[in-house]
Amino acid sequence: MKGLGGDVKSIVMKRLTSFLLVVFVCTLLASGALYFLANSNSTKHVRTTYESSIWSSLQLQVQSYRFVDYLKRLDRNNPPTSGDVLFYYDLLMSRIDLLKVGSVGNRIHYYGDGRSIRILNYISAELELLQPSIMQIENNDLSSLNRIINKLHTLEPQINKFVSLVNQSSRAYSVEQREQILEEFKLFKYIMLIFISNAMVLFFVLLTNIRTTRKAVNKAQEAEHQIENIAQDKTHFLATMSHEINTPLDRVINMSKLLRTKGLNNEQCQILDTIEDSGTLLLNLIKDFSDLSDIASNNLMLDYAPFNLAQELERSIDFASMRSNPKAVRVLSYIDLTLPDQAIYDNNRLHQIIFNLIDNSFKFTPSGHISVVVRLSQSKAPQWRPALYPEIPASMIQIVIKDTGIGISDSILEMLQTPLDSQVPNFPENKYCLGLYLCRALAHLMHGELSCHSPESGGSEFILELPIFHHQITPINEGKMVSALVNSLSNKNMIILEANDSVAHLMAMQANGLGLNTPLHTYMLSQIPEQKIDYVYIGDDSMFDDLSYINLQKLINSGSQILADYNISKNRTKALASALYKGPLLHLNMGHALNELAHQDFVSSQSY
């Protein structure tokens, strides 16, 4: 209930803060708008227009006095100089013109309910009528001088009335302006009152929020610290446990190996096998837990160094295959020999991933085969580089491990598709998933990706995409170790006798990769190809008939070398074989076996 109350309080505080912020912004905008209106150009222009109308009306009055004064000073002894009378007249008329046009003229129309413009029009008309007389005086004919002066005198009251009307209107304008300013000031005062009170409340609310946030941050920091401590404790515990269990377990495994040499019977040997297997499994489990814990606490360090890619990959596959029953499950590998010969990567961690994936396949593949295909990936390499190799070029490789087992369970698929969050260690519940989870976490740590699916053909398929780094791209088939092998086997012909199509296809890929031609791969030798056959590889003789053996003998007679799988079923086949191949059918390993067979230094039943 306390937690719920806290949530409600938090929501109320948030809404109150938002509301206050809106009011704050609105009042700020309103006061800004009011200030803008009070100081806008249009307001200033109206003010200027009123001022101009007063100024121009007074100027009209002044100029009329000046004109009269000038005319009074004229007589026969003092005649007008050229253009002077017209000049004064024009000056007076220009004042009337200014009062009639533009914004001043528009304003004058409204003064005194239109009386002002009527008076101005009257003054203007009367003065316009004087123009002929003005021209007479300009021509030194002073006969109409007195009439003009009298006329101007009669216009004086009208001009005074006009000026008075303009002044009255401007005073009214001043009063109106003052009242408007007072109204605006009142409004401004209210807005400012709201603004200040709102600002104060907002300040207190923000202060309260800051306090609450600070408390929450402190609590979160404390919790984070506790989590870190727990993670550290866990890592420490696992490290200690690993170390403590490792020694006695090693002793148990070594003792069981020692016991094997003491002349035990088969049943006792089987018991020892179980002890050794279980001991090794337990040891690996402890190591996996330790690694997962290190990954979760960001303590797992990667070790990037240069390695011979093909050799190390085959070594890893070979090692992972050791625990298998070769009679039931065959392991094959194909490596694209155009991949870089030397590459920089964490070999131990890649070995760990390959071991775990193959081990997992073994668990769920009671019979059939497991294939490992390594090739260049089409994915874009990441920007990330190892600290020791900041500028090194990168490529992505793809390692596909496919088996013919029972497929992947939904729980494993879900686990592998859930986004990885290295901050929250989320160990899988299913014990079989532990190795896969570790593989995925390691791939992620190395900026790669592990995905899986169950193909329609059955079994499961794990796809590992991983960046590798390399200074120069010398392909494997041009490298020191493999180029001689490829040169030796190049353009030679090999027949593959294998009942399983997938295995036969993969073997053909291996052979072609090494430069061999594979004119035929079939499950029985019903006919012999026309070209010279250098090698025959027998992977499975279960379907062989008499004709197959006759043809096989013919091939032996023509100089073909027969390499047969160690686990073939028929002794008749074994008798014809030049050599038996034991162990996983690894790409380069098979190449070496064929090469040595050709040089006649192959020892029968030798394992590769």
Partner: protein
């Protein structure tokens, strides 16, 4: 191109010689310039009639103003050549109108802002009734930042006296 150059030099010589011989106006005086000037034609003043003003190099501004409806072309004489002709040594002008209204304008308004002494509106000489004989016009349309009370106030009309100050 060569003939154009010769023509330009000839015109320049005419103007440079005119700046040292300011004759008295032959018709009604429209403008009296006094103060810090070195070239005069009557006592310490320089008097100009319409003919003399019209001989000065011309310049035009086409703009709207608050006093006349629509856009008009105002033509007048170039301030720079006018000040050169008078040998102006000051930095400020006191402009006095026919009604004795007076205002001070810095010389920079003519040399930098672009104000002119307008004597014609749309090609017709400005009479006293039409804010003549001389009116200050700023390029309001070309420089909108001039459209404010400060520059409108300095656009004085019916000018008949100029006093050059420090």
């Amino acid at each position: 191109m060569q003939s154009l150059k010769i023509c330009f030099i000839f015109i320049s010589l005419i103007f440079s010689s005119a700046s040292f011989s300011l004759e008295l106006p032959s018709t009604r005086t429209l403008l009296t310039v006094s103060g810090l000037i070195s070239n005069t034609n009557q006592d310490s003043n320089a008097l100009f009639d319409r003919y003399m003003l019209d001989q000065l190099p011309r310049v035009s501004i086409t703009t709207h103003t608050p006093w006349n409806e629509g856009k008009h072309t105002y033509t007048g004489f170039k301030a720079k050549e006018f000040f050169k002709l008078l040998g102006v040594e000051g930095e400020s002008l006191s402009l006095i109108a026919l009604n004795d209204y007076m205002i001070d304008i810095p010389i920079q308004d003519f040399t930098e802002v672009g104000a002119i002494f307008a004597t014609h509106m749309d090609g017709v000489p400005m009479t006293v009734r039409n804010k003549g004989p001389i009116m200050i016009i700023y390029p309001f349309d070309d420089k909108p930042e001039l459209k404010n009370e400060s520059y409108y106030g300095k656009s004085i009309w019916q000018i008949n006296q100029i006093v050059i100050n420090q």
